[in-house]
């Protein structure tokens, strides 16, 4: 059964006195439980608006969202709260999405307490489990976000999401601000979480190689619509749409660039 079904979703921003900005113009897809979807496209193509609409941060102006068989806009207050818990988001700027005045311990305790995920006495043990899950040493617990690295902050963000035992994580450019070696570690973490916990992942990225590495399926977004969707390897190896080809050609891929350079030297 599909976990999330999106049908003809529109997101329109209206400003008085100005023409409406139609950021998402009719997007439909469905995501199976445990599957991973990559959404690629340039900034301004509507991918972040789409993500915000999916988690309910931005109301959709038209279209339906169905999560586990139930229409999201017809959920009761409690039902919607459960939905918000089941669908979590990780942002690009990890350091910026953590409270600078709270230690890692306070951040993780807060989310477990507010959402009543564990009785107070069980919270410290759960925090240790979460740190273990994202591969952080317990020595970071009393650090503030600025005292740990960007990669560690991103792991804390993942731990904070996982505290709510979500079924879907939407990661919006989770590694684009990180060094390559750290990037590799976070991507491996995403993959292992998906496999170990059976999570579904929507990975938003402009890095096609990252998406190809992590995701089963990919959707190429341009100007508010999906211009091409399919199995990640198919779409990225044999792109059909001209825009997908443009994106692929813009990727500075080490292997490809070296090959053509070596060929030119011969």
């Amino acid at each position: 059964m599909s976990l999330l079904t999106v049908q003809d979703l529109h997101v329109t921003y209206r400003t008085p006195g100005q023409p409406p900005v139609r950021a998402v113009r009719g997007v439909s897809f469905s995501l199976a439980a445990g599957a991973s979807l990559g959404i690629v496209g340039e900034s301004g193509c509507g991918k972040s608006s789409l993500a915000r609409a999916l988690i309910g941060l931005q109301p959709a102006s038209a279209g339906t969202l169905t999560f586990e068989g139930r229409a999201v806009d017809r959920l009761s207050r409690q039902g919607f709260r459960d939905y918000r818990r089941a669908v979590q988001m990780v942002f690009q700027d990890a350091t910026g999405s953590l409270n600078p005045r709270m230690t890692v311990r306070q951040t993780l305790h807060e989310v477990l307490r507010v959402h009543r995920m564990r009785p107070a006495a069980a919270i410290p043990q759960r925090v240790d489990e979460l740190l273990d899950l994202v591969g952080l040493p317990t020595t970071v617990l009393d650090a503030f976000p600025r005292e740990i690295s960007g990669g560690q902050c991103q792991r804390v963000s993942f731990a904070r999401c996982l505290a709510l035992e979500p079924r879907l994580i939407i990661a919006d450019e989770p590694v684009s601000a990180l060094d390559v070696s750290v990037q590799a570690r976070i991507l491996n973490l995403v993959r292992s979480l998906q496999q170990r916990l059976g999570l579904s992942i929507i990975l938003i990225s402009h890095d096609l190689a990252v998406v190809r590495n992590i995701c089963d399926r990919v959707a190429v977004m341009h100007d508010g619509v999906f211009v091409e969707t399919g199995i990640a390897a198919d779409v990225l190896d044999v792109p059909r749409h001209a825009y997908t080809r443009t994106l692929l050609e813009a990727v500075p891929d080490v292997g490809r660039a070296l090959q053509s350079k070596l060929k030119a030297e011969r």
Binding site: V180, V210, A250
Partner: protein, 323 residues
């Protein structure tokens, strides 16, 4: 061999903080020929940007001590008077930084900012010169962009404005410090194509600082790999990337997701992190993160290979045996 445009000899940058000496840039030597495309790669905290800033003493000089020589066009910028240095900055070596929105003055119109880079021109000529520069950078509607405030432009457009400013005084060397990290792949391609075109037209050399090996592979001719304040490997891009000698270079390459890699093959990461400058290891700086490290690696710093080969590295395991 022509006289290199830029020759950095044994550059070290030392800071004194709380009575402690730290040396984030250690004994860095590099050259850039006129018109050449050279890259410096490495993780954050390896001293790439500080090296670039030190070329024109833009590093915080009140606290930093610069040692070594930076010969630019035959003169040592580290020994220049502040007045003479001002003539090298912008006219000789110009910079483009990572975050254009932070580099531009938010409350000044674009044309006024560019005009500041044109002190030799009469005021009346500023506007036309500014529009001409913006036209060269391929901005659509340059006349409108000239009157705009930075916040009215997109990231890619702002970076073009930064380029226009950098090119205003026709520098011989453009130092581009992660110029496209904040941009989309397609915008990144456009901005780098632009840098290439403009550099070709003016015979300008480019020193690109990046952590994106894809950019290095596709666009540059030579590369310096920096780790913990040192150059650990250098040479022609094709040599270094297709036949990397230093384990750090190999690690960086393995960590990059590639388009033709099999799906779900875990990416190789480099365990651990770059040590902080106040705790550089005694031996090879990379030894704590290196799978090949042995007792000698931890105890002694490896020298740079010193053969006629232009592909150099700093690793005990690629040294010829002397003993």
């Amino acid at each position: 061999m022509p006289h290199p445009l830029l020759q950095v000899d044994h550059l070290s940058v030392t800071f004194r903080r709380d009575g402690m000496l730290t040396t984030p840039v250690r004994d860095v030597s590099l050259t850039v020929q006129a018109g050449e495309r050279v890259a410096v790669v490495g993780e954050s905290g390896c001293g790439k940007s500080l090296t670039a800033l030190s070329l024109t003493r833009l590093s915080p000089t009140d606290r930093a001590r610069l040692q070594g020589r930076v010969l630019f066009d035959g003169t040592d910028t580290l020994a220049l008077s502040p007045d003479a240095l001002t003539r090298v900055r912008g006219r000789g070596i110009a910079y483009v930084f990572q975050d254009p929105s932070a580099s531009l003055n938010p409350v000044m119109r674009v044309q006024d900012q560019i005009a500041e880079c044109l002190p030799d021109l009469p005021r009346a000529a500023h506007r036309d010169a500014c529009v001409e520069l913006l036209t060269r950078t391929g901005l659509p509607d340059p006349a409108r962009a000239a009157r705009a405030f930075p916040c009215e432009l997109s990231g890619g457009q702002q970076q073009r404005v930064m380029l226009a400013m950098a090119l205003a005084a026709r520098p011989k060397l453009l130092v581009a410090d992660e110029p496209t990290t904040a941009l989309d792949v397609t915008t990144q391609q456009q901005v780098l194509d632009l840098i290439d075109t403009l550099a070709d037209a003016d015979g300008m050399a480019v020193l690109l600082i990046t952590h994106n090996l894809g950019l290095v592979a596709g666009r540059m001719t030579r590369v310096y790999v920096m780790y913990a304040g040192q150059v650990v490997e250098s040479g022609a891009v094709t040599d270094v990337l297709s036949n990397p000698r230093h384990p750090y270079t190999r690690g960086l390459l393995a960590a990059v997701p590639m388009l033709d890699a099999p799906r779900n093959a875990p990416l190789q990461d480099i365990p651990g992190t770059v040590p902080s400058p106040d705790a550089w290891p005694a031996g090879c700086a990379f030894a704590p993160r290196c799978a090949q490290a042995d007792a000698r690696c931890h105890a002694e710093q490896p020298p740079e290979t010193d053969d006629a080969d232009s592909h150099r590295s700093r690793c005990w395991h690629t040294q010829p045996c002397h003993s």
